[in-house]
């Protein structure tokens, strides 16, 4: 049965996933035009994970993100103009051009930060959860990280502490199969990463990360448990990045046909095919988002760079 709630959610999911898709396409364009300094790690193909997961949170909750963080930030409601300006290194960016793609932070949206160190954000997310418990707030932290971060030492240290102390955190492993060029199946014996939850005595499961409703549902359950003081959950979301590790990586290490196979599981097309939304509704959403994105791009492109004096501020705060 199609309830109003389901329809409302579908509209929200569609809007957010399409917003991420379009944003990332434009980041790629800026890169190709030589207007984006450095690199960016695109979230194309993984939109359902961030979208479904963040929809299960309250405004006061926190998320910890990764080097592939644009999707998480957009799903959390970060300002597209300030994000794009940051990616182009402009003064109007979230970090005045001092962070760039991999380090966008927006604490006003509960975003603890994207993070350039694989796994580096996991203990920080656990610390936010510790802080919630200590300060007796009812906030929950979602810790996003990739399959490869689960092989970093801090993954183990962090999940262990969160489990030992029933901290209100949900670990969302986005398994997109590759750590740069290395297939996760070549560097682990047990490929189902959620099974690691067993070692920590916490619930763990693997879900279809391209099914936005499934992500929303499962993260929602985990968030409820965490909020009730019942400790962390580990959710592995199976998904795929359509592009290489970063813009400019042709992804030659991938198997023939693999990209096409995953593109056939496009989370946005999949939501359209569920026919919860009418074609005129989806096209209206797309038109509105296209406009937002165009506006964010124009804003970022036209914004000035900061003066050199900006390089010397914010090393310390008062």
């Amino acid at each position: 049965m199609r309830t109003n709630r389901q329809k409302e959610l579908a509209g929200h999911f569609y809007r957010v996933m399409y917003r991420i898709r379009r944003f990332e396409e434009e980041v790629f364009e800026f890169y190709k035009r030589g207007l984006m300094p450095g690199l960016a790690h695109l979230y194309l193909g993984q939109e359902a994970v961030a979208t479904g997961a963040c929809a299960a949170l309250k405004a006061s909750d926190y998320i910890g993100s990764t080097h592939r963080g644009h999707g998480h930030l957009i799903a959390r409601g970060a300002d597209l103009r300030r994000m794009m300006a940051e990616i182009l290194g402009k003064a109007a960016g979230y970090s005045k051009g001092k962070g760039g793609s991999m380090h966008i932070m927006a604490l006003d949206r509960g975003i603890l930060g994207a993070n350039g160190i694989v796994g580096g954000g996991i203990p920080i997310a656990v610390g936010a959860a510790y802080s919630s418990k200590l300060r007796k707030t009812d906030t929950v932290t979602l810790s996003f990280f990739g399959d490869s971060a689960s092989n970093e030492g801090v993954f183990h240290e962090s999940v262990n502490m969160a489990a030992a102390w029933d901290l209100p955190v949900v670990f969302v492993i986005e398994n997109n199969l590759y750590g740069i060029s290395v297939d996760i199946r070549n560097v682990t014996r047990e490929h189902q990463l959620s099974k690691r939850a067993l070692a920590y005595g916490i619930p763990g499961s693997t879900i279809d990360g391209n099914d936005v409703f499934a992500v929303y549902r499962e993260v929602g359950k985990a968030v409820d448990l965490a909020r009730k003081g019942k400790g962390p959950t580990m959710l592995e979301c199976l998904t795929y990045r359509w592009q290489g590790h970063h813009v400019g990586d042709p992804g030659v290490y991938r198997q023939e046909g693999e990209v096409a196979e995953w593109k056939a599981r496009d989370p946005i097309a999949r939501l359209e095919n569920e026919k919860i939304l009418q074609p005129e509704e989806t096209s209206a959403i797309r038109a509105a988002v296209d406009e937002e994105i165009a506006e964010a791009c124009a804003f970022a492109e036209e914004s000035p760079y900061a003066g050199i004096e900006e390089a010397f501020t914010d090393v310390f705060v008062e």
């Binding site: 970090s95 932070m105 160190i117 920080i124 610390g127 510790y130 030492g153 090393v315």
Partner: protein, 333 residues
Amino acid sequence: MRELMYREAVQEALDEEMARDENVFVIGEDVGVIGGNFKCTTGLLEKYGDLRCKDSPISEAGIVGLGVGAAITGCRPVVELMFADFLMVAMDQICNQAAKITYMSGGQVKVPLVIRMPLGGGRSSAAQHSQSLHAWVAHCPGLKVVLPATAGEAKGLLKTAIRDNNPVIFFEHKMLYTVKFGDVPDKDEDFRIPFGKARQVTEGSDVTVVATSIMAVKAEKAAATLAKEGISVETIDPRTIVPLDTEAIIRSVKKTGRLLIVDEGHASFGISGEIALRILPEIFYDLEAPIERLGTADTPLPFSPALEFPLIPDEKSIAAKIREMARPGGKTA
């Protein structure tokens, strides 16, 4: 003034700040039930409960990272690392995360985090439990670096560190923990020592000695010995190396014309070279002799006291070096 052991002063600072602000908490290996490996957190578990005085697993990177996350979301964590040597286990969280978040967020996010740890040799603990690694973190912009030399300093500087909105690396000296000092003011919740302000330990006119941490204590004793020989030594304890009170050092060297820097870190690529070069343009024409330094020899610290002690500057080697400088040719009167 009261007499307290250095470790008691650390404990008192933690206790006062925890009582004052419920967002202050302590986490580290063995800080709870046994009150810390060096007994700096005794009684805090009983008084403030498990969440605010947390025995952690042996996960240095994890607990520092936890501290970072708690700091950016409203707490003022004090993370204890049992030995400064374990700093390297947590280096990513200290240098890539804590030190850079404020900057990389364009000033949106503050990181009021203190990481305490004991440095130094002298306990036959060998090369993985004896290092003085303050230069490692002082090299990384975004961290404040504190080296208290007395109980009073430990208390006043730790209270300042906890109220600071930046990450502070707080190096205690393990050979000072049970030493008593009479420089702790009567209980006063607001007693604090500002960062970036050196202490003049002894006043003198022949040689300036800048000495950090326990070296300030050793240099003070050397100065007393030399006073009897008619050599007047001005000893300066910088107390913090980031920020560094260069003014106090410059002022003193302009008076004495001679500068010796004593620091327990290895001399090579350490803070003595940094201090010397930083102030050199200001004092070049006031110098009557080359700047000298004493530090730990450039070897890993050996286990046996027979091998370890001679490698670390002590009262005698400091006095000998000052004599050499005060009386060119090294002749004593």
